[in-house]
């Protein structure tokens, strides 16, 4: 009873501790590719500490929703991160929700953020929220279809079982899995507001989506949102790693040694994901807002194609 509980808490603390580092790594890679030195890897931690220490400055007409939203967003993202196997499958509370629940929890966080963006009644909040709604209306169904794809192969929507299946059963190369992987990468870029969908570094108001929504936030509230953004990136990279590259994951009821191996492999996977993300972001330009439906819609169609293939033939 106690040991699984400790492992579960270890996972929650691990994701929380690694998330800002991952963001720092992506920024560092992008800076190096631009021939800049870039901020140190630990800069996101410093930013968070600084933001938390500052007074929160809030608009006069903000309602209670504006104050509650950052903690809601953070809590939903953190719980979603706790449900994704990072170094071990079959954690104590992994049956609380499956992959659909993880996607929906991130949807709850997005819902809260969009409402908070509209709370002050400025044009920037509105522009961010309306674009986010448009993008999410394509990215969320794409996520669900990717889940369907993977679940039909593994016979389960439970992430732990999917990872075990991918690790142990002889899945082999499948067309539908390849489609799902491509779609999931597009969704990852979209959901995390990365180039080509959105630019996390921009402060040119008219081009941004996510940054426009959090424009009115400051101090500890902004810190919570920044931390949630880092966590969300980590969640998505962890999902990709757990489904498609489950190497090193400790199985259910594994011993401390397997756990240690898993805990050692997991940061390496994250680092590879972060570096690839940085390289990808530097090699592509940001898209116009109304070209995004084609980009994200492609993920939706790939997911649908994968599911259709699986319905037609289990072997695809």
């Amino acid at each position: 009873m106690i040991a699984p509980l400790l492992v579960q808490f270890a996972q929650m603390l691990l994701v929380l501790a690694l998330a800002p580092l991952l963001t720092g790594l992506v920024r560092k890679v992008k800076a190096r590719l631009q021939r800049r030195v870039g901020p140190p890897l630990v800069q996101p931690y410093r930013d968070l500490r600084r933001l938390m220490g500052k007074d929160a400055v809030m608009a006069e007409n903000a309602s209670w929703l504006f104050r509650v939203a950052p903690y809601t967003i953070f809590a939903c993202t953190w719980v979603a991160a706790a449900l994704v196997p990072t170094f071990a499958t079959g954690l104590m509370f992994s049956w609380t929700g499956d992959l659909i629940v993880v996607a929906a929890l991130l949807g709850t966080a997005r819902f809260a953020l969009s409402l908070a963006a509209l709370d002050i009644g400025t044009a920037f909040g509105g522009i961010g929220a309306s674009r986010e709604a448009m993008i999410a209306s394509l990215a969320e169904p794409a996520t669900i279809l990717i889940v369907f794809c993977v679940a039909l192969i593994a016979g389960s929507t439970q992430l732990s079982n999917i990872a075990d299946h991918m690790l142990n059963a002889h899945v082999g190369l499948r067309v539908s899995l390849a489609l799902a992987l491509v779609a999931l990468i597009v969704v990852t870029l979209t959901e995390n507001a990365r180039i080509p969908v959105d630019n996390p570094a921009t402060h040119l108001e008219l081009t941004m989506v996510h940054e426009a929504m959090v424009l009115e936030y400051s101090g500890r509230h902004l810190a919570m949102i920044e931390l949630s953004v880092s966590l969300k990136l980590l969640v998505y990279i962890s999902i990709v790693a757990c489904i498609f590259f489950p190497v090193g994951l400790a199985g259910a009821g594994a011993g401390p040694l397997a756990m240690a191996v898993g805990a050692a492999v997991y940061p390496i996977k994250l680092a590879i994901g972060g570096v690839l993300l940085g390289i990808f972001e530097m090699s592509i330009a940001k898209m116009r807002v109304f070209r995004l439906p084609n980009f994200v819609g492609a993920a939706l169609m790939l997911g649908l194609l994968g599911v259709l293939l699986l319905f037609v033939s289990r072997g695809m």
Partner: protein, 666 residues
């Protein structure tokens, strides 16, 4: 137990009479709505008991003399009776406070209890005559309520369209029962259950039942009346029509297809599943572009009815393939979603009514900032928005999650139609869920958040205590059914057992009350733990941040990137909020266009932005049909001006034709 329900109906009829007599007295409102509240609560309890209880019969010496009135209360009617009682009790509680503002109570009070009585009788009917009488009675009384505020613009047209569709629906149901009655002309449902109809009869009865019940429920393409009629009625009645009456129609469909027919072929399941999926997406897309709050909710009803029909279609598909446990899962999910829709749609219509009364407008473009002036309404409506957007841990998510599980259950069904329809349904449902979230961010964000856009919104006031109580109770129920979905699944087990011959695994015995639809290796969901985790981590984060960092909060003017504009006109509007989605989906589906009329320099007239969009279903089905009716009637018009000799000639001709047909037949 069954004797209670006719008693309830009798009391409702008496309340209708009392409402007609006491309409103008203030006490009339108390008697009618208070009485309906008590009757609704009784029906709720009776229904809950009847779900698990034995099937009961009752024959009353009413109606057609030599037939009598056959009534029956089984688990299926019990579930819908509980749903009706719940919706009726909530709407009546809301109406006790809200009814004070009715301009012409004499147009509402007599019909409100009668409407409830009609819906009660539909659920109990066990013979064709009683069913059709109750069905038409429900339509007629609800029509009277739709036309109650007949002076408002558009309401008369809405009532006319509603009447046409209601007559059409009644006719289709009549034909469905005519098919089921067979050559022997069986009136009672028991005789229909015992009969073994041929494949052709099954197909025809299914088609008529789908048209009849579908048009009452708002299934695409038979939904056009719904967004007109539901908003036209007073808000508690809107809640009843959207939240409850559409479910009575679903009851009719389930009763005919699962009970009287006892299963239909796979192609029928494909049609239902595809129509449901298309309806879900079309409905929510309409809602996303709508600016009338109540019409937005009505379109969202079209969406949710679509979701329920997807579940029913899956259940029919599994049943046609001899897979009862799958059918039980899909049917349970569909009925669970029907219940959830009753809860959150009633709540949202109450909220819309409160907003309408507080500001005098249903147009969200004229609202804004209501969260400060109507805190209780805003908080409860927010709960409803979370629930209807299928976000965990609310109830809407639990039922949609179950439908997703049903979609994933058996990909190896043999028929190609289903192989393509089921994954397409999955995509359509996922799209509908995401668009619903966008729709309700927009609805809540524009109406309740931001700055007030008009003086009316600025001077809004919180609604009365009765309305707040009704909204609070329904918001609580939305959360509770989301946290304990296992309890609802177990509650529905006898219904699934009766309709499909199987049931879902017992849920309440699972550790931590986890929901496990098939097997724990397949999928599980625990709303309660999830909610506790989110609440605990949010609370923990807030505590730690305040301890470690600064706890000071300073209030300043909005930042707005350095250029704050004091005018609320600079806010995003509902139209601008919906524009990206309209542009992505609407240009193809709704032929949405916006044209800018920019005057030349020096010209004094204002620039104009004109936006148009059209309903594809209306353009493709109803407009040609309307033109056809006009064409035929204008050409048959000459028949009205003939001499008596010619009319007699027509009668003679008709007789000859019929006799000839009879001779050829034999």
């Amino acid at each position: 137990m069954i004797a209670i329900v006719p008693g309830c109906i009798a009391i409702l009829v008496a309340l209708g009479v009392a409402g007609a007599i006491l309409a103008r007295a203030p006490v009339g409102r108390w008697i009618v709505y208070g009485g309906c509240l008590l009757v609704g609560s009784t029906s709720l309890v009776a229904g809950l008991i009847a779900i698990g209880g034995p099937t009961e019969h009752l024959v009353l010496p009413l109606g057609v003399p030599w037939i009598g009135m056959h009534l029956r209360l089984d688990s299926l009617s019990g579930f819908f009776l509980a749903l009706l009682g719940l919706g009726a009790a909530g709407a009546s509680l809301f109406a006790i406070g809200y009814g004070r503002h009715d301009q012409e109570p004499q147009r509402i009070l007599p019909f409100y209890p009668l409407f409830l009585a009609g819906m009660h009788l539909v659920l109990l009917a066990d013979d064709t005559f009683t069913f059709l009488f109750a069905w038409e009675f429900m339509s007629a009384t609800s029509w009277a309520l739709v036309v109650a505020q007949h002076k408002d613009e558009g309401n008369a047209h809405a009532a006319f369209v509603y009447l046409v569709m209601a007559v059409f629906s009644g006719l289709a149901m009549l034909l469905a029962f005519g098919m089921l009655a067979g050559a022997a002309g069986a009136y009672t449902f028991d005789a229909m259950r015992a009969a073994h109809p041929t494949a052709g009869v099954v197909a025809a009865a299914f088609a008529f039942a789908l048209i009849g019940a579908g048009s009452k429920a708002g299934l695409v393409p038979l939904h056009v009346w719904l967004p007109l009629a539901h908003p036209a009625a007073p808000s508690p009645v809107s809640a009843l029509m959207s939240g409850v009456m559409t479910k009575i129609a679903i009851y009719g469909f389930v009763r005919v297809v699962f009970d009287l027919l006892g299963g239909v072929p796979w192609w029928a399941a494909t049609i239902v599943a595809i129509l449901g999926g298309i309806g879900a997406v079309l409905g929510v897309l309409h809602a996303t572009m709508e600016r009338d709050l109540k019409r937005l909710l009505a379109y969202s009803t079209v969406e949710n009815i679509g979701i329920v029909f997807v579940g029913l279609g899956l259940a029919m598909a599994f049943q046609a393939n001899g897979f009862p446990t799958g059918a039980a899962l899909a049917l349970t999910a569909a009925l669970f979603h029907a219940l959830n829709h009753t809860l959150f749609k009633s709540l949202l219509f109450f909220g819309a009514g409160a907003v309408l009364h507080a500001t005098g407008t249903r147009d969200i473009e004229n609202l804004g900032g209501l969260i400060k002036r109507m805190p209780v309404t805003a908080a409860t409506v927010l709960v409803g928005c979370f629930a209807i957007s299928a976000l965990p841990p609310m109830n809407g998510f639990a039922s949609e999650w179950l439908i997703f599980q049903a979609i994933l259950l058996r990909p190896e069904l043999p028929q190609w139609g289903l192989k393509l329809a089921i994954p397409a349904d999955g995509a359509l449902l996922a799209l509908a869920a995401a668009l619903a979230a966008a729709c309700f961010v927009r609805a809540f964000g524009i109406a309740f958040l931001g700055r007030p856009r008009t003086p009316a919104a600025e001077q809004a006031h919180e609604t009365d205590i009765w309305s707040r109580a009704a909204m609070g109770i329904f918001a609580g129920l939305c959360l509770l059914t989301g946290l304990f979905p296992g309890a609802i699944i177990d509650l529905l087990a006898p219904v699934a057992q009766a309709m499909t011959g199987a049931r879902m695994p017992v849920q309440t015995g699972d550790p931590w009350l986890t929901t496990v639809p098939v097997a724990s290796s397949r999928s599980s969901y625990n709303g309660l733990l999830l909610f506790l985790f989110v609440a605990a981590s949010g609370g923990l984060a807030a505590m730690v941040v305040r301890r470690v960092g600064s706890a000071v909060l300073r209030r300043v003017p909005p930042w707005d990137c350095g250029f704050p504009d004091p005018s609320p006109m600079t806010q995003y509007t509902a139209a601008s909020m919906g524009q990206p989605i309209e542009r992505v989906y609407g240009t193809a589906i709704f032929r949405a266009r916006s044209t800018v009329d920019m005057p030349a320099p020096g010209d004094m007239r204002p620039a104009r932005l004109t936006r148009t969009r059209s309903d594809p279903v209306w353009d493709a089905v109803y407009a040609p049909l309307g033109r056809c009716v006009t064409f035929v009637s204008s050409h048959l018009n000459v028949l009205q001006f003939l001499t008596i000799r010619r009319y007699l000639g027509f009668v003679f001709g008709a007789l000859i034709v019929l006799l000839a047909a009879l001779a050829l037949w034999q």
